[in-house]
């Protein structure tokens, strides 16, 4: 087990290295240079030169990369071109909000997608299956921000059940914080659930073809026991692996949902950094989002091998 996990981690190292090079090169690809791009063409040349020196942009590329990477290893992503504050402080401040939204969204989507996917996958071709499949195809067509707008209009403006926008840290006022989380989490969860339901359906469908299913049926086990105890349990390893890929839609979804609900998470930073041309920030966010995606998928692969030791042999 340890050997398998170590092997997987070693495979991720070159990927992370490549990602760091890519994020670094990205900022240097900008036509002109980041400081001029930020200040505008008509900016004072002395100020530009001063800023370039301050950000180390006038030094050889390899040296810049080495210093930047060494800093990243220590958790230091440099200084935001825009606000002059350390990037790591800005990002760390935003993480709780994003985690709260992503966590709640993931729970909502699992609660919808797993039952729907299992029900559809256990009886392929049934009326329930075609209903769920059509709903999934429709759900995939609804943009997250459009869904969020509808929910906001209905639940907060018409019924006045929950506040429409805003964020309060959970530690400050738990009840209000949760009330404010309802709509964004519902939006994010509903937006992702069609993907998850599809993945669940195909994993369950595949497992349901295994010979142990008719055997369990012949033994006289209750259908519920077969679908949950036998099929879902055996589909779980491939589901966990697929869940890792869903994290990408979770990240993309949270960027949009945070913009819609004015939620001060890292997703807002992404949009803000690009519109404000804060390239040091874009660089850091690319690396963090990509790194997180790699790490989550790594964790999912290891979890998969714990659930199904056969994976380790392939």
């Amino acid at each position: 087990m340890l050997r398998y996990a170590l092997g997987r981690i070693l495979l991720a190292v070159p990927l992370l290295f490549g990602l760091s090079v890519l994020s670094f090169v990205y900022v240097r690809l900008i036509p002109g240079d980041p400081v001029t791009a930020m200040l505008g063409v008509n900016s004072n040349p002395t100020v530009v030169a001063q800023l370039r020196e301050q950000f180390g942009l006038d030094r050889p590329l390899l040296g810049q990369y080495g210093d930047w990477l060494a800093g990243v290893m220590r958790g230091d992503f440099g200084v935001s071109f825009r606000s002059q504050l350390p990037i790591s402080t800005i990002i760390v401040d935003r993480i709780p909000a994003t985690l709260q939204l992503a966590g709640a969204g993931l729970v909502v989507s699992l609660l919808i997608a797993i039952p729907a996917g299992v029900a559809a996958g256990m009886r392929p071709g049934s009326r329930l299956d075609s209903l769920i499949t059509s709903a999934t195809l429709f759900g995939l067509a609804v943009p997250a921000f459009f869904l969020g707008t509808l929910l906001m209009l209905f639940f907060s403006l018409k019924l006045n059940l929950v506040p429409s926008q805003g964020y309060v840290p959970f530690a400050d006022d738990p009840a209000q914080s949760l009330r404010l989380t309802v709509l964004p989490a519902l939006t994010l969860g509903l937006a992702i659930s069609p993907y998850l339901a599809r993945l669940t359906r195909s994993a369950v469908l595949e497992t349901a073809q295994e010979p142990f299913v008719p055997f369990a049926r012949a033994k006289g086990l209750a259908p519920r026991k077969i679908s949950i105890g036998y099929v879902l349990r055996n589909a779980l390893p491939s589901l966990v692996a697929a869940l890792g890929l869903t994290v990408a839609s979770l990240m993309a979804g949270s960027i949009v949902v945070e913009a819609l609900f004015n939620w001060p998470g890292t997703g807002r930073l992404v949009t803000g950094a690009v519109t404000e041309r804060d390239y040091a920030m874009v660089e850091a966010l690319l690396l963090i989002y990509g790194g997180l995606f790699i790490a989550v998928n790594l964790a999912c692969e290891i979890a998969q091998s714990l659930l199904d030791p056969r994976v380790r042999l392939t």
């Binding site: 490549g18 071709g125 067509a141 921000f145 459009f146 990240m251 949009v256 949009t271």
Partner: protein, 286 residues
């Protein structure tokens, strides 16, 4: 035609869903509707989507303005119909770009194998590690938001996933007996690629084109919503959403009108790709 004998034979339960063709019909009708909007919509409505009429802001639907007017008194129906053209152009451009990268790379790596495969696959893995919306946002950051940038951004965010699919399909086709037969008969590599591999990819590419067109419409709208897509006042479905967002509390109907065409167009693409997948059984090659 009936086959009574089939009833007596106990067959295993069908693996796929036995689709009611109803969904395909719905998809085709919706798709046709979208196509009509793109082709004759602007002409049919016959209004200038950029004509500002400040005295007539936020007007409800009327004979003069079928879907009312927006925050600048512009005709909403006309903006949607003209926007459909921009959105269609972006979606087609983005899918064409992704396909133009994915097919050569996928065929090269899947067919040749060896170190080319190893190197390219690592690069694909690397780009795959960045969520596609983030890649798109990154490209917009480089070139600044515009229609051309949106095409580039979406095309570049789809190729890693698409290259993976093509490569897997090529590996599958390469090991088929008819490919071996062709090689034994002395066909050159280029000929095998042209006559066996590329033709074998057609079902997969057809299905993926419809799938990606749907994605591209959604992502164009998402970029527009974030203010990183086509820039107002230029009409597109994404920019229409971005504009309506500012008045969402006072005039939610504008956001609804902006969102519905997107939902219908993408739903049509999803239905069509799903029935294409069933019909062509792209899974067998992909």
């Amino acid at each position: 035609m009936t086959a009574p004998a089939a009833v007596l034979v106990t067959e295993p339960r069908a693996v796929g869903r036995r689709r009611t063709p109803l969904l395909t019909v719905v998809g085709a009708i919706l798709g046709l509707l979208v196509l009509l909007t793109i082709v004759i919509g602007p002409w049919l409505i016959g209004k200038d989507p950029y004509a500002i009429d400040v005295g007539n802001r936020f007007a409800g639907p009327s004979a003069a303005h079928w879907l009312g007017t927006d925050e600048l008194g512009r005709d909403v129906a006309s903006r949607i119909a003209h926007g459909a053209r921009a959105t269609a152009l972006i979606a087609l451009g983005a899918v064409a770009l992704a396909t133009a990268i994915a097919i050569p790379l996928g065929v090269l790596t899947g067919f040749l194998g060896g170190w080319v495969d190893l190197v390219v696959t690592r690069v694909v893995d690397l780009f795959f590690a960045i969520p596609s919306l983030l890649v798109a946002i990154g490209v917009v950051g480089l070139f600044g938001p515009s229609l051309t940038t949106t095409i580039l951004a979406l095309g570049l965010s789809y190729w890693p996933f698409y290259t993976r699919l093509i490569r897997a399909a090529v590996v599958g086709i390469r090991s088929r007996p008819y490919v071996d037969a062709a090689r034994v008969l002395g066909a050159s590599r280029l000929r095998v690629i042209r006559t066996d591999i590329l033709t074998g990819l057609v079902p997969l590419v057809l299905v993926q084109t419809t799938v990606l067109l749907g994605f591209a419409i959604l992502d164009e709208a998402a970029l527009g919503f974030l203010g990183l897509g086509v820039q107002p006042p230029q009409a597109s479905w994404g920019s229409r959403l971005a504009e309506s967002r500012e008045f969402i509390l006072a005039h939610p109907e504008l956001a609804l009108v902006a969102g519905v065409p997107i939902v219908l167009a993408v739903f049509a693409m999803n239905l069509l790709s799903d029935s294409l997948r069933d019909r062509l059984d792209a899974k067998r090659t992909g």
